[in-house]
């Protein structure tokens, strides 16, 4: 036994020795690279933590934006991909601090508590987190949340959907009363509820008789389940489908069945040329630029930053003219201008009812706590103020004419 101990020790020593030689060789090579002529000593360094890699449309959306923003502003960046929502996230943040990052960003909801821990440990580093809810109550100067008013994008996409329904009604394919849409959602969270409600209200603004059914899959990425849910909705008589989940499941089900689809997270036109109408997505580039610029100029980043149509954070893809109804582009442009000008509000209390009556007051759960205690009045001046009291959505009202076929919580 003693003999083998010695042997293993020697082998490991050998590995280390070989390693050190490689390391030295590597270090010598690395140094000149770091002194790139374009980078100064005071160049900022940004660290990114992503839940998955480019294979997920969700993370790809962040990765592409991060690369664009960093290149444009000439800052260095390090990306750590496939970081799960556990202590590995804190370890990744630790390591990014070690690498000299001035800003560290994480893209997934479940990263939040680990980012907060890291922010407490390294007060000199800025920590930014997308989709989180706790920055405004944690009281940390170096921790902030960000999101975008994607409900506005979905509202605009909803207009395209409503116009398509109108076109099909006019063509005599079904009656106005039969105008039912289907929606495939991931989970029954405020983020998804806010999304499908705004989409529905957009459609309703042009097609008043519209109704909707929502089917949840219980996963952010499950191609088979999303496809199945979309097919079930179509068989249920839904004339148009939209989705809030990250796979191609719903769009492909629509293409197979020949049912028009309003997509999310980017265009699906190449795969679904005969059914794709339009898609909304969040462009994170403006936020990344804002975050970097703030740190560069020594300014504080807001606890909550909400990207809007105006900041260029909420965008629609090109409209597929061969599927979309005539005049869709004009109607969207018109509504977009009104939304930006503040003349139009997505969650206008006059446009929807709950249990048959319009809402005049609603206390939402804005400050995260263990029991989901509602704490803030969010209906003022006749509309629901989404993403104003914090960036992450908190609209979680189940309004009339939208039927949930099931629910799914994590």
């Amino acid at each position: 036994m003693k003999k083998t101990t010695k042997i293993l020790a020697l082998v490991l020593a050998l590995v280390l020795a070989i390693g050190c030689v490689f390391c030295l060789a590597g270090c010598n090579k690395e140094n000149p690279e770091n002194k790139d002529p374009n980078t100064n000593e005071d160049t900022l360094k940004v660290g990114f933590i992503f839940l998955h890699d480019e294979n997920s449309t969700y993370d790809k959306n962040f990765i592409v934006a991060a690369e664009a923003a960093c290149k444009e502003l000439g800052v260095e960046y390090i990306m750590k991909k496939n970081i799960p929502e556990n202590a590995k996230c804190q370890e990744a943040a630790d390591d990014l601090v070690d690498e000299g990052c001035d800003i560290i960003f994480a893209d997934s909801f479940g990263h939040e508590s680990y980012m907060i821990e890291a922010a407490k440990e390294y007060p000199e580093v800025q920590f930014c987190h997308a989709t989180g809810t706790r920055a405004h109550t944690e009281g940390l100067a170096n921790y902030s949340n960000a999101f975008a008013s994607i409900y506005e994008g979905r509202y605009l996409a909803g207009i395209a959907a409503g116009m398509k329904l109108n076109e099909m009604i006019a063509a005599g394919k079904f009656t106005a009363e039969e105008a039912k849409m289907g929606y495939v959602g991931a989970f029954t969270y405020a983020e998804v509820i806010s999304g499908y409600t705004s989409f529905f209200l957009g459609a309703k603004s042009v097609c008043p008789t519209v109704t909707m059914e929502v089917q949840f899959t219980g996963s952010w990425y499950d191609e088979a389940a999303e496809k199945e849910a979309a097919t079930a909705l179509i068989n249920n008589g839904c004339k148009l489908i939209s989705q809030h989940a990250d796979s191609m499941g719903a769009p492909t089900a629509c293409e197979t069945a020949g049912v028009p689809n309003v997509s999310y997270n980017g265009s699906t036109q190449t795969a679904c040329p005969n059914t794709f109408i339009v898609s909304s997505r969040i462009d994170w580039t403006p936020y990344f630029k804002h975050m970097i610029t703030c740190v560069k100029e020594g300014k504080d980043i807001e606890d909550d930053w909400t990207g809007t149509l105006e900041t260029g954070s909420v965008v629609l893809t090109e409209i597929n003219e061969s599927v979309a109804a005539e005049g869709t582009a004009e109607a969207i442009a018109d509504a977009k201008a009104k939304l930006i000008a503040g003349e139009l509000h997505v969650f206008d209390a006059a446009t929807f009812t709950k249990d048959g009556a319009p809402l005049t007051s609603y206390i939402a759960d804005v400050d995260t706590d263990n029991d989901y205690t509602p704490d803030t009045e969010v209906i003022k001046d006749g509309y629901f103020h989404e993403s104003e009291f914090r960036s992450a959505p908190y609209f979680d009202i189940q309004i009339d004419n939208i039927k949930l076929l099931n629910t799914a919580f994590g």
């Binding site: 083998t4 293993l8 490689f22 090579k29 890699d53 263990n370």
Partner: protein, 371 residues
């Protein structure tokens, strides 16, 4: 045997068990294995990605020991893996195939986490810590005791039994992480007592992982002495070598099995405690993260010697940390670093074969004739 038969049936080579092997020879075999692994992995890297293998290895080493913090993280990783490996070792030495360390550690961690959630405001921090230690150790031990009793009484298959206990533990954790999730419904507990740090292991000398490392170092030495120099340790070896011999010399085999599994589970419980109170400060189904299975390899490679297990777990954690660095530095998919780690471990395990066996090639015809 006729001449023609011997000609057609003698294979090109055959394998012979070695009686013993000189030190220099086994050393040469192991060094050769690692060198061969590095060359194969290097060639694969070059042909698949076009990267310079030397750069890749340099990044690997930098990722594992490049900064002070990384060295701390490396030793923390070793401590966690080593702790689970220590836990499975007494059972393995007894030839009780406990592949349920994952579940046993998870139960220990779950107990600690539940104590932190339920009793933080009811007990003083010191008492809470004591309760956490006791419940973790007991939970881990109970999770190991159940299959041990079934094995001792009814000779059930411990491999399947301990494996299935893992799934039950995972589901229990899943249930509780839904029940106590923050925010509600999110299915994850999040950091427990983030502001008060009640139930967290304290930092020593400003190092948050130092206490974990110290605990595991002490455990390593205790287990080494227990296995090598105590009567219990001797009994474990005898039961492992031959149950009949053990019975013949008057060892109560059932008692040894149950006692040893309680020990194995208890150490798993400590590992779970360290993971929850000393590292993650939360519990999730992936808290143990496969260490319960990696530990089996660590223990076997070290031939059940706790001191040597430090070296094997060092090797595995070193490779793992290095592999993570490779995938982020060169923007490679994380599967690629798994491939490299896999190749290196494959060669190291493979070299054991050549240390235990030698290969005899077929003698040439001339020699055969002269015989």
């Amino acid at each position: 045997m006729s001449k023609s038969a011997s000609k057609s049936h003698e294979p090109l080579f055959h394998v012979v068990k070695r009686a013993s092997i000189p030190l220099w020879q086994s050393l040469l075999i192991r060094a050769g294995a690692i060198l061969a692994a590095l060359i194969v992995a290097g060639l694969l890297t070059f042909f698949l990605t076009g990267l310079n293998p030397i750069d890749v290895y340099a990044t690997m080493i930098d990722g594992a020991i490049g900064t002070e913090k990384r060295i701390w993280n490396l030793f923390q990783g070793i401590a966690l893996l080593l702790c689970v490996s220590l836990a499975v070792t007494p059972a393995f030495k007894m030839k009780f195939w406990n592949i349920g360390a994952e579940g046993q550690a998870l139960m220990g961690g779950l107990a600690a986490a539940l104590c932190m959630i339920l009793y933080s405001d009811k007990l003083s921090p010191a008492v809470l810590m004591l309760v956490m230690v006791v419940t973790s150790v007991v939970s881990g031990a109970v999770w190991a005791l159940i299959p041990a009793i079934f094995k001792a009484k009814w000779n059930t298959n411990e491999t399947l039994f301990t494996l299935m206990m893992n799934y039950i533990a995972t589901q229990l954790v899943s249930y509780f992480s839904y029940k106590y999730s923050v925010p509600k419904g999110s299915g994850s507990i999040g950091i427990i007592n983030s502001s008060t740090k009640i139930g967290w292991f304290p930092s020593i000398l400003d190092q948050k992982y130092l206490l974990n490392i110290i605990i595991v170092v002490i455990l390593t030495f205790i287990l080494y002495v227990y296995l090598k120099h105590s009567k219990h340790g001797y009994e474990i070896s005898v039961v492992g070598e031959s149950e009949n011999t053990a019975k013949y010399i008057g060892i109560n085999v059932k008692k040894v099995i149950i006692r040893t599994m309680i020990l194995s589970g208890a150490i798993c419980g400590i590992a779970g405690l360290i993971m929850v109170a000393g590292t993650d400060h939360t519990i999730a189904t992936d808290t143990v993260g496969g260490r319960g299975f990696t530990a089996i390899m660590v223990s076997w490679l070290a031939k059940f010697n706790p001191i040597m297990m430090f070296l094997t777990s060092f090797l595995i954690v070193f490779l793992e940390k290095g592999a993570i660095a490779i995938s982020s530095e060169f923007d490679l998919n994380s599967s690629f670093s798994d491939i490299i780690t896999g190749i290196i471990i494959f060669f190291i395990i493979g070299s054991e074969f050549f240390i235990n066996y030698s290969i005899k090639f077929r003698e040439s015809k001339k020699e055969a004739k002269s015989k």
